[in-house]
Symmetry: C2
Subunit: 338 residues, 2 copies
């Protein structure tokens, strides 16, 4: 029997209108996987159509009466909304009824609830959020993306361990290379925390490449890029902004006149292929790492394709023993230290 994914159907900008069709598409493409749809029955049921007879026991619906909104402070969401869809998916993972939880809801609340319900793995101080980005040579995994704003060198080391385990599980690379994000100005290479983190990573037994710079993310210099959550979040958002601007400008240039529109029509197949290659929807689903369970955060604005990508990635992580890999590495590192 394959993995079971618990889906917070109420999260994200579009709620069940996106999460339910994405769940059905995931079931179709993953013949041995199961899903538990969690949320308000009256919102989910009408979107199921004939799915229940089509998928039988592979599709379950678990009602949850409350919804965590984007404005809910994490502490409030965690303490007062005990029957929220976000809370129930986590309870299902905790109880072993599901192998992974996926939500497009409020990131802060998701982090707080998952940490409260699942707890962190031994040796992990703080869970991190990782993402995967396209690179010239394949993919680059980057963490942390905003969960941890002020990081110690020890935290950065833990991110290295977790990121390395993630790539081992998902990309089937046994010794992924790990780079530490730094700046290359001649005089002033990095701050003290980064310098200390480099020493720890060098001694960690990980496949540590050394310092990398921002452009190495897209060069594909290493498999995993480690940084604190402030820097990672800025790098990601800046990339999103630049990609959007370039896309909009390209479109503008091609719609300038009838002639350029004709040129666009001719070039369309190539432009489409290009767009597909860098389609951010194919990179959706950021794992929360360091917890005693697989949890993935989908982008809030995810559409059906993007959300089903996150589901597929959750299935991949769960079936490739992500949690076990992280805790094994953590344990072996702590042995070395002791």
């Amino acid at each position: 029997m394959g993995v079971t994914i618990a889906i917070d159907c109420m999260g994200g900008d579009h709620g069940p209108a996106v999460t339910v069709p994405a769940a059905l598409s995931f079931l179709r493409s993953h013949a041995d996987a199961n899903v538990i749809l969690v949320g308000r029955e009256e919102a989910i049921q009408p979107l199921l159509g004939t799915a229940q007879s089509e998928f039988g026991a592979r599709l379950k619906l678990r009602p949850a009466s409350e919804v965590v909104t984007m404005d809910d402070p994490p502490a409030i969401a965690m303490r007062t909304k005990k029957d929220s869809s976000m809370r129930v998916v986590m309870d299902l993972v905790k109880a072993g009824e599901a192998n992974a939880a996926v939500s497009a809801g409020n990131t802060g609340a998701l982090m707080a609830i998952s940490r409260f319900v699942l707890k962190t793995l031994p040796g992990v101080d703080r869970p991190a959020i990782a993402t995967v980005l396209p690179s010239m040579r394949g993919h680059t995994y980057v963490l942390d993306l905003g969960a941890n704003v002020d990081c110690s060198a020890e935290h950065l080391l833990q991110f290295g361990v977790m990121g390395s385990s993630l790539v081992a599980a998902i990309e089937h690379k046994e010794r992924p290379s790990v780079g530490l994000l730094n700046i290359g100005e001649e005089a002033i290479k990095g701050n003290d925390v980064v310098k200390e983190a480099a020493d720890l990573l060098r001694a960690s037994g990980l496949n540590f490449y050394g310092n990398v710079e921002g452009d190495d993310i897209y060069e594909g210099t290493v498999d995993v890029v480690v940084c604190d959550g402030f820097v990672g979040n800025v790098a990601l958002k800046t990339s999103e902004g630049l990609a959007q601007m370039l896309g909009a400008m390209l479109k503008e240039e091609f719609s300038r006149s009838l002639l350029t529109k004709l040129m666009a029509a001719v070039a369309l197949p190539v432009l489409k292929r290009f767009k597909q290659r860098v389609d951010h929807r194919l990179y959706n689903g950021a794992p929360l790492l360091g917890l005693r369970g697989v949890v993935l955060k989908s982008h809030g604005s995810a559409d059906v394709l993007a959300f089903s990508t996150a589901l597929a990635r959750a299935a991949e992580a769960a079936s490739n023993r992500l949690i076990e890999r992280i805790s094994e590495r953590m344990a072996s590192m702590n042995e070395v230290k002791a």
Copy 2:
């Protein structure tokens, strides 16, 4: 009489082969400007051709026997190479013989030498490096880009003042909007330094917009984005990497087959226009702000077009009273505090 730019002809990956032709091109396009070419006479002279008779007194050559290399530690470059081209351009600005200095050399050394020779303006703790990036609505100025790795809230405030003065001088906007780079995660909005800096900026009398995120740089949400040098450097390098990757992928898709090559040929005029619009060479020339003189750092790999852009920007900054604007604002802010 127009402004005079002192040019470090020996700096950068290509040295005089780029800096000298760029200087001549600058003289041609700026009929009332003057240049002083600084460096090894035997390397510069052969590249001048008939320029000396063409430009007469507008073109001067000032020999300097030493060269700061990319590997020179800043302190060594500053203390031991007293006749370097980088040092001499700064001496010329200090002596009032030139209105601005431009170099494509070692950033750390340039910062150290300019700080040592020119000194900082009253109220400025540390000079910062600023750059301008294209945005959906025009340009966005970002600082700091790597000169200051660990910044206090007070430093970020000073960057806001300097960035605002820069935009006032170069873009002729009297009250440029200033944003503070932060992250938008619900739970965890920024670190303590950034929170404190927001309070200082709000009380500063600047046109403070509030927090912005990475994507706002390319949205063009504000005229000036303020951040510490580590974050700014990562944002810039990440952008460079992404732009390069997207360019390479677009090229790859268009060269896949004879058919796609034909499509590329058809679309060429549009692709060229697009490329021109985001050509990084048109954004070359990062001012070092907070000094008692105009200093611009060119990208080390700048070509003739890029380096002459930096020269034009230096002329613009010098003739629009950049230094006076910064010191006036600093003074009026310190009055308020006192």
